[in-house]
């Protein structure tokens, strides 16, 4: 890796993070489920049932910021990672690592936010852990959350499913969270109303997957049969159970859906939440996983004026700043407008837009058509973005 010590760049989510993952972590734990490198693992647990399983740790500094705090971020982040795999999250874990001397009032605020976020997202915290370490060994509070969700029958989302002709949708303005944290962290005092977009998107995802199915006219008998079989084959005490009869249906199930052409029902190909590393890095991951070229259009990408202005002042590219309540959807062209409409009607998707398209595979990567009609590559972020000198 060239460096013998771990640098902050290794946690940036960009190229150096990927190098750490590919050179050190994947070889050690190598298995087919892990190597797909989606937001969570898709695990077939038998009986034709699959779950999405995901984990994430939250170390944000500062822990309180406009629009949220580390608590709701930790819940929403894992809920979103599960949702992006097509899973319907219901149960999550929460592990707290607390610094000696951390304010009990602050802990209460963080826990209350976690509870509120969980309630909004329709998940419950069912197991957890608490550790306290000496002062200075962690920064106030670190949180790990994990969770799983049942993947409705037929849903098969992966970063490797993008295909030429697909459209790329972003569910709202980009870089809000990244610029909020940066401002709060550095005490930059701008007179703006920028706040983190931290939000759980499982509701939005559910609607996207449902509409994709409905649009393709999946018949009621089929859905009822699948639903019944799934409910009979898994024992979960909660009557809601996270099972859905709907799906965007890539996996053709013999006997139940044999008359269906898989391609007629496969409109939603990829869902990803562009968190660390931003839209630029996430699209690069999709391009690599799917071996495609993705063209995006600068004029179409929604960025708040205040975020845009701060990025210009500080020398940041909003394409590489984190989002915590946005998703990227790669969908077939035929249903792109319908999916966009569904997202726009969601409470977290009113600024959604189609920002690009997947084209022929050569050359693989992400390209931006600029406002002035120029074109440039959007590479994966190398390390942390740093403020410029002048």
């Amino acid at each position: 890796m060239g460096n013998k010590k771990i640098l902050l760049d290794h946690g940036s989510g960009g190229k150096i993070s990927h190098a750490l993952l590919k050179e050190m972590i994947l070889p050690v734990f190598h298995n087919d489920l892990l190597s797909r490198l989606d937001d969570g693992a898709r695990i077939d647990i038998g009986g034709g049932i699959s779950i999405a399983f995901s984990t994430d740790s939250y170390v944000v500094d500062p822990i309180f910021f406009p629009g949220g705090n580390i608590g709701d971020l930790a819940v929403n982040g894992t809920v979103n990672d599960i949702a992006m795999c097509g899973g319907e999250p219901k149960y999550i874990s929460a592990a707290l690592i607390l610094e000696e001397g951390f304010s009990v009032d602050d802990l209460k605020s963080v826990l209350d936010s976690m509870a509120e976020a969980a309630s909004k997202a329709g998940v419950i915290v069912v197991t957890g852990d608490t550790k306290v370490v000496p002062k200075g060994k962690v920064d106030k509070i670190f949180i790990n959350t994990s969770g799983f969700g049942l993947i409705p029958f037929g849903v098969n989302l992966s970063g490797s499913n993008a295909r030429p002709g697909d459209k790329v949708i972003i569910s709202g303005t980009i870089a809000d969270h990244g610029i909020t944290i940066l401002s709060a962290r550095e005490g930059l005092k701008f007179d703006s109303d920028i706040k983190s977009d931290s939000a759980a998107l499982n509701g939005m995802v559910k609607k996207i997957l449902e509409i994709a199915t409905l649009e393709k006219g999946r018949d009621e008998r089929n859905r009822a049969a699948i639903s019944e079989r799934l409910l009979n084959s898994v024992s979960i005490s909660d009557s809601g159970s996270g099972l859905s009869s709907s799906g965007s249906c890539l996996d053709s199930e013999p006997g139940l859906d044999s008359e269906r052409n898989p391609d007629t029902c496969s409109g939603v190909h990829v869902l990803r939440d562009p968190t660390r590393g931003g839209v630029g890095t996430t699209l690069n991951e999709i391009a690599q996983q799917s071996d495609v070229r993705i063209n995006i259009w600068e004029d179409a990408i929604p960025v708040k004026d205040a975020v845009h202005g701060m990025c210009e002042l500080l020398g940041f590219d909003p394409l590489y700043l984190a989002n915590e309540g946005k998703l990227l959807a790669v969908v077939s062209a035929e249903i792109a407008d319908i999916v966009l409409d569904i997202i726009k009607k969601d409470e977290f998707g009113k600024d959604a837009a189609i920002i690009g398209e997947v084209v022929r595979p050569e050359p693989c990567g992400v390209f931006l058509q600029t406002s002035i009609g120029g074109s440039r590559i959007v590479d994966m972020l190398t390390g942390e973005q740093l403020p410029r000198i002048c």
Partner: protein
């Protein structure tokens, strides 16, 4: 936050119109494509922020083949000498020192280490956004010594000067700087005196010019008579500057023009210059890859020597040779493109840079690498 001019100078129609005018003017002058001798119109953007903007907006991809844009010596991190980087590292290693720096500098490799690696080893190194933050850190940590890495051009030097004056006024004794600040006009002179340098026009830096004014370049312009225009950083600004330089080359009459009227005046900012000159004075300075340029640096005046970190801690500048094979110097003078450096993209990448042009986001090599020379 109400920010003006964020969208106006990125107007696609306006930009496309300018591109057509540039092409039309060059065509009527018989210069739209590369001529038989293979000569191109070589225009140098002096400032690293221009380099980044040119790449970010895909400006190269819309220009005719006959215009070649070269990146100049105006990236402050790129021109900071190895000896200064090593001095910053030496200062960071001193017990009880909190080293403060602007972000870009942290990754630049010194002879044996970098500030980033020192930070990973536990040294107290903090990235700041304003030099005035140093005073607050110093006031809050009276048992520590706060040392600031003074890097930058006329844009940043006045604020550093103001921080020294403020520290003196507030009696903050645990604050000092190592000044590797540089001046722009002497670099342009040095460039023009270098054998082999062949530039048909300068796109002059916008931020620096806010301080220097147009008048800051008059002496250099009168001596070398190279078409010159001060430009803003938005795509319409840059295209306008290219059009102005193309017109001057076609007419054969070089001029010094202001293309950034909304920010730059004839006089610049005399108050900022007065503060800068009160605290600093010109001195010979070593530029990375270029070597020593007379009177191109800014050192602390002796009356402010208590703020001189090198003197305070007895750190000496050591003569250093630059990494063998690194072509940063030639790249900064427009003599080579990054792709003509033997290490580019092989031994030297943004993840593991050898030369500073690959480190700073505004360095020519980093921009080429990130945007693959688009």
């Amino acid at each position: 936050m109400a920010l003006k001019y964020v969208h106006e100078y990125r107007d696609g129609d306006l930009a496309k119109g300018l591109i057509e005018v540039i092409k039309g003017d060059l065509a009527s002058a018989g210069f739209l494509s590369i001529n038989k001798q293979g000569a191109k119109l070589k225009l140098m953007e002096v400032c690293g922020t221009h380099t980044m903007s040119i790449f970010r907006h895909g400006i190269r991809s819309v220009l005719p083949d006959s215009i070649e844009l070269l990146s100049g010596p105006g990236c402050p991190v790129c021109v900071t000498a190895q000896q200064d980087i090593d001095a910053f590292i030496d200062l960071a290693r001193i017990k009880d020192v909190i080293l403060t720096t602007f972000g870009d500098l942290i990754k630049v490799p010194g002879t044996f280490s970098s500030l980033q690696k020192e930070k990973a080893s536990g040294k107290n190194i903090r990235i700041i956004y304003s030099v005035f933050d140093c005073l607050e850190i110093a006031a809050a940590n009276p048992d520590k010594e706060v040392v600031f890495c003074g890097v930058g051009f006329e844009t940043t030097t006045p604020t550093v000067a103001a921080s020294i004056l403020m520290a003196a006024e507030r009696g903050i004794g645990n604050f000092s700087i190592h000044s590797a600040h540089k001046l722009t006009p002497p670099a342009l002179s040095a460039l023009m005196e270098t054998q082999g340098v062949d530039i048909d026009g300068f796109i002059l830096p916008g931020h620096v010019s806010v301080i220097t004014g147009i008048n800051g370049y008059r002496a250099v312009f009168e001596k070398y008579r190279v078409p010159s225009v001060i430009a803003g950083f938005e795509p319409v600004d840059i295209l306008k500057a290219i059009l102005i330089l193309a017109k001057q080359n076609i007419s054969g009459i070089p001029e010094l023009e202001n293309g950034y009227e909304r920010a730059v005046s004839e006089e610049g900012n005399p108050k900022a210059r007065q503060i800068m000159n009160q605290v600093f004075e010109p001195d010979d300075s070593v530029w990375r890859g270029i070597g020593q340029i007379p009177q191109s640096g800014m050192k602390l005046r002796s009356i402010y020597s208590e703020f001189n970190a090198l003197e305070k801690f007895g750190v000496e500048l050591k003569e250093r040779s630059e990494p063998a094979g690194c072509a940063c110097g030639q790249i900064l003078m427009g003599l080579k493109t990054p792709e003509q450096c033997v290490m580019y993209g092989k031994r030297c990448t943004p993840a593991d840079p050898v030369g500073p042009c690959m480190v700073s986001s505004e360095g020519a090599c980093a921009a080429y690498y990130r945007y693959k020379g688009c």
